[in-house]
């Protein structure tokens, strides 16, 4: 595969940034590291979400479902299998679940998809609660020697993997197919694109990544129960952060994740009951002022300055 000079430059910049980010745990204390973990987690979730939902405009609220599946794979499996075997199992199960959900719903229009994905997380949560009630067990303990630093580095590596996948998909026929589908699905079909297959394939990426993220995070929770692993709030946070940053570019979600996570942290400390308000206000800001997120804002500033420069 041939790469242009600009692409090599971008690649070097990305690797440098990742290198600096990898040194983060040595530069800060425990408090900032825990915020670093949150930022890394939401970067992984929002970026993989945007790779699918950005071009197709299908809003998925299933993040919590996949995330919970991943967390439960570790919760159930940790007593029987080594931790590093559980991670690929979580990824495969998440991908498989996304495949099934995709087959069932991606032929339908967007609205049904949104509702179905929201319902899926809730359904899994209730199912597990029900099973626990019958069997008499409550939550599960995940006791490992994995430290916060390890979790951070794993999430960072996963983020690098997600960015790389997104970049590859953008260069593949699949990426082009998804942009066409997002613009006009009728045209997409009539130029020969199997639109259902393309959407289902791509939906497996956020499914698999979110399950993997859930599995990586599980040791941090120590105690896992359905209301933590399958919290619907997670799905909404991921959507808001991705849209705030903008889905048009791979780095877009990151630009949304950082300020939003910090703001969320401040509000959680000072006024814990007002986090939902933050979610709502952010949503209004996106709809009214930043329909294309920070990415769109940057693009329009660039355009204006170039017009002014031309005059």
């Amino acid at each position: 595969m041939r790469m242009t000079e600009a692409e090599w430059r971008d690649l070097v910049i990305c690797l440098l940034c990742l290198g600096v980010a990898a040194c983060f745990p040595w530069m800060v204390g425990a408090y900032w590291l825990s915020i670093g973990v949150s930022i890394a987690m939401f970067t992984v979730l929002s970026t993989s979400w945007a790779i699918f939902s950005g071009p197709t405009h299908f809003i998925s609220l299933a993040t919590a479902a996949f995330f919970g599946v991943g967390a439960y794979v570790v919760g159930i499996g940790i007593d029987y299998l080594p931790y590093y075997v559980l991670l690929p199992i979580a990824a495969v199960l998440g991908g498989l679940l996304a495949f099934l959900v995709g087959l069932a719903t991606l032929r339908l229009s967007g609205v049904y998809f949104v509702i179905f994905t929201l319902g899926l997380a809730e359904f899994l949560r209730q199912m597990i609660t029900w099973v626990q009630n019958i069997s008499g067990t409550k939550g599960m303990y995940v006791l490992t020697s994995i430290t916060e630093e390890h979790i951070y580095w794993q999430l960072l590596a996963l983020a690098a993997g997600v960015w790389f996948s997104g970049w590859m998909i953008g260069r593949m026929r699949l990426g082009f197919a998804l942009r066409i589908i997002g613009d006009d699905e009728t045209v997409a079909k009539h130029v020969g694109i199997n639109t259902s297959r393309a959407k289902v394939l791509l939906f497996m990426l956020p499914g698999s990544v979110a399950a993997l993220a859930g599995a990586i995070i599980a040791p941090r929770y120590v105690y896992i129960e359905p209301s933590i692993a399958f919290t619907p709030m997670l799905s909404f946070q991921v959507v808001i952060m991705a849209l705030l940053g903008g889905t048009g570019r791979l780095w877009g979600p990151l630009v949304g994740v950082i300020p939003f996570t910090l703001l969320w942290e401040v509000i959680s400390i000072s006024a814990p009951n007002q986090t939902t308000l933050l979610l709502g206000v952010s949503f209004l800001v996106i709809v009214y002022f930043l329909p294309k997120g920070f990415v769109g804002l940057v693009a329009s500033i660039k355009r204006h300055s170039s017009i002014r420069g031309a005059q």
């Binding site: 082009f176 197919a177 066409i180 613009d183 009728t186 045209v187 079909k189 009539h190 130029v191 020969g192």
Partner: protein, 242 residues
């Protein structure tokens, strides 16, 4: 003579409404077939049935002898059937060149990378949009959007091209150019089916015409013959003028 496309007892019902009723006709390879008739007679529906946009209620459509009426539109497209839409459909977030590339990357003959770019540029040249690949779709005039849609279809190198009122709304100069363009496609060996209201175009382009009224075929033949047929005149103008 080989039938490029052959419709047998093709029927489409929307609920109780029979939009296309046991329609039969064959399209000879490398000819221009005109599908004409008053508004609401089911012409566009026929194109939608051929291109796989709607499933048939009954009947079969064959392409070179193989049934294509059970296929979805992406598979029909991959067999070499390209189409334009009555209301032009372009990809608004993409450049002019990317719009054309969309036609060649997944279609009947597939190209990718530099080859797709070169071919897409050649197709833009062909329809008279040469060198405008970097423009955005919003900057195009009405006729240019029609040209662009045709370039996308041509980029897939289809054997059969379906044109849904592609010449409608053009001024006389543009109409002349459009007619020449379609004729040049036939000269390249394409088979063309056009749904059209512009009678000048039908007379000068079509090798054969099928006239539809209320979902049924009421006449078939050379343009001059069918247009003087009394039943056709009645369908268009009402009883008094026949």
């Amino acid at each position: 003579m080989i039938s490029a496309l052959s419709l047998h007892a093709v029927t489409k019902r929307f609920g109780g409404l029979v939009a296309v009723n046991r329609l039969e006709f064959d399209v000879v390879e490398n000819q221009v077939m005109g599908l004409i008739g008053p508004n609401g007679s089911g012409k566009s529906t026929v194109l939608n049935l051929i291109s796989g946009a709607f499933p048939l209620s009954a009947g079969t459509i064959r392409m070179h002898g193989n049934i294509i009426s059970n296929l979805q539109s992406q598979d029909v497209a991959r067999r070499g059937v390209g189409r334009t839409f009555q209301l032009v459909r372009l990809l608004s977030s993409m450049t002019v060149l990317e719009n054309v590339k969309a036609g060649t990357v997944f279609g009947y003959k597939r190209r990718w990378g530099a080859e797709a770019d070169t071919y897409a540029e050649a197709m833009l040249e062909r329809v008279g949009l040469g060198g405008r690949g970097d423009m955005s779709v919003g900057q195009l005039t009405y006729i240019d959007t029609k040209r662009l849609e045709l370039a996308r279809v041509l980029a897939g190198d289809p054997k059969i091209i379906l044109l849904d009122e592609w010449l409608a709304g053009l001024n006389p100069t543009e109409l002349g150019q459009g007619i020449n363009l379609i004729r040049s496609l036939r000269d390249d060996g394409k088979t063309i089916i056009l749904v059209e209201h512009v009678m000048d175009a039908i007379r000068s382009l079509c090798d054969e015409c099928v006239v539809m009224a209320a979902g049924m075929k009421i006449a078939q033949g050379k343009p001059e013959q069918v247009l003087s047929n009394s039943e056709v005149i009645r369908a268009y103008l009402g009883d008094d003028d026949a």
